[in-house]
């Protein structure tokens, strides 16, 4: 899962060095469009729609990993 997140972040923003503790806004300096583009890439990969209010609760990469696990979202 971490590798997938790293790949998507790189594809969308060109940024590398993502770890589970990486904060999307503080460390990667992403703006709202960058975040939405990353979310879109995730949604396309998993064929799953993530509500906006859930998106803003995910601050660091680990939050995304936990969310996907907790929601039982599987690769499509």
């Amino acid at each position: 899962m971490l590798e997938l997140i790293q790949q998507i972040v790189f594809n969308v923003t060109g940024k590398t060095g993502v770890t589970p503790e990486t904060d999307f806004i503080q460390d990667l300096e992403l703006n709202s469009f960058d975040i939405m583009n990353i979310v879109s890439a995730f949604e396309d990969h998993f064929n799953y729609t993530i509500p906006n209010r859930d998106i803003w609760k995910m601050k660091v990469v680990q939050d995304v990993i936990d969310y996907i696990r907790d929601k039982g979202i599987a690769d499509s």
Binding site: I25, Q26, E29, N31, S32, F33, M36, N37, V39, S40, E43, T49, P51, N52, R53, W56, K59
Partner: protein, 547 residues
Amino acid sequence: MKNYPYYDVPRYETFLQMMNVAKKYGDKPAFVWYDRQQEQHTLTYTQLCKQVDGLKEQLLAMGLGGCHLAIVSENSLEWIVAFLGTVMAGGIAVCVDIEQSDDTIRQLICQADSDIVVASPTFHAICAPLLADGKIKKLISTATGPRAEGYESLDDLVAQGCALPPTPPVPKTKDDVAAIVFTSGTTSKAKPVMLSQLNIQHSATSTITMTDHGYKYFSALPFYHSYGLSCTIVNTIVKGGTLTLNSDLRTMMRDIKLAQPDSAVAVPLMCEALYNMLWMVLEKQGKADEMRAVLKRYRTFSRFGLHIGQKKLIAAKNAILGPIHVLISGGAHLDLELWQNLNAFGIGVYQGYGITECSPMIATNRNKACRLGSVGLLVPLCELKTVDGEIWIKGPNIMKGYYKDPESTAEVMDGDWFKTGDLGYVDKDGFIFITGRIKNLIVLKNGKKISPEKIEELIGHIPMVKDVMVYGAASGTSTDDVKPAASIYPDPQQTQGMSSYEILEHLQTEINKINATLPVYQQVQMINIREKEFNKTASKKIKRYDL
């Protein structure tokens, strides 16, 4: 560069006048949106008027004419119908900021004495406690079928109302309050701004009488802000145009391509996103280097009034972004470089200036009267003066006051004059320039504004914090790009024996807890520790600009 006559557009004082004329636009599309599957949904003027009338009749039949109806929803066709139906039933639409926390959303609903809430499914659970506690009379869903989760749907109300015999229009004057919109003040509570029928109509007309931006518009601006309300929904109806609305940044670029609008009403972040999109596609096409050279040549020669290479730039823009040729930009300062580059690609960018308390339009640049770096010319029927450098405004755009808060209203008014809190001047041709703020608001590139005092109050409760100042720290390469940061002077007694690293680590943990209670854009992203106390005024306030 001089001003020139206003474009001839209808001018209304009340929503009834506007909707009576709207009926004549018939089957012309009024509002369009695309769902996640790219399916187009359209509301024609005939359908819009019928649904608005239906909701009006049903609200009156339920004894809810004149009610306060809170709308808690993403941008949608239902949002528009709920707003207009409420106003036509003689009520007041309460436009709730949905990016706030759950508790704040409930607090805003109650602060405006809302009788009913119309909510999208995302917000059912957040609003339901108010129904359970008897603080609101009804919770209506914008959804239908199973997605309405058992709540009455707006569609049902509209259908019931359409089956009723029509009643005479509810008489309202131009000075009657039509909407309550929330703004961030310099204290901890959001202020409920009362906007009259004329306030909103005046702002809507101002945008289209001062700038010609065609008939096909696009906007992703939230409707619950006065900018989105007046300058996208209402001005579309006034002009008889077509607005493609977007409620999800994920599909914004896709929707622009589908809608092929003439213009977009935006904030600087959206202007930048469009520009970046252009270059991303050019890179993929292998044309980026060539276009960079063309752009550089154009920028060099345009200083001498020569437009060498612009045809090529415009052709590239048309192929990627479609016919869009006007961007109305507001909410925050627009980067000059971006402004000039978009112009080079044939997209006229017209920076404007507004404040919620002014409905919001105060000034805007115009198609043939545009001055880089300025926020444009004053809107019609208004007056401007500066008092000790601060811009004061008078005119039909000034709010009716803050709801149930005459003290706060008195602080910002001097007779009919509204004190903007912004510093600025007017040049010899009438162009307005903003030079600073008396208010300490941090303005983000996406138009969002942060009251530092509110966050400072939260951080100040941390025992080891003696003093704190929240400010906008530079982020990225542009000076317009800022992020919320906290400068903290730790309490010497509380931190005795602790290393700087330990202090920082502890503060980060505490601030993370505070951030969890705030909307994302307000969250502190950087902390720095001061070794000496802040410079303060005689009344012990931190001198923000004297660090």
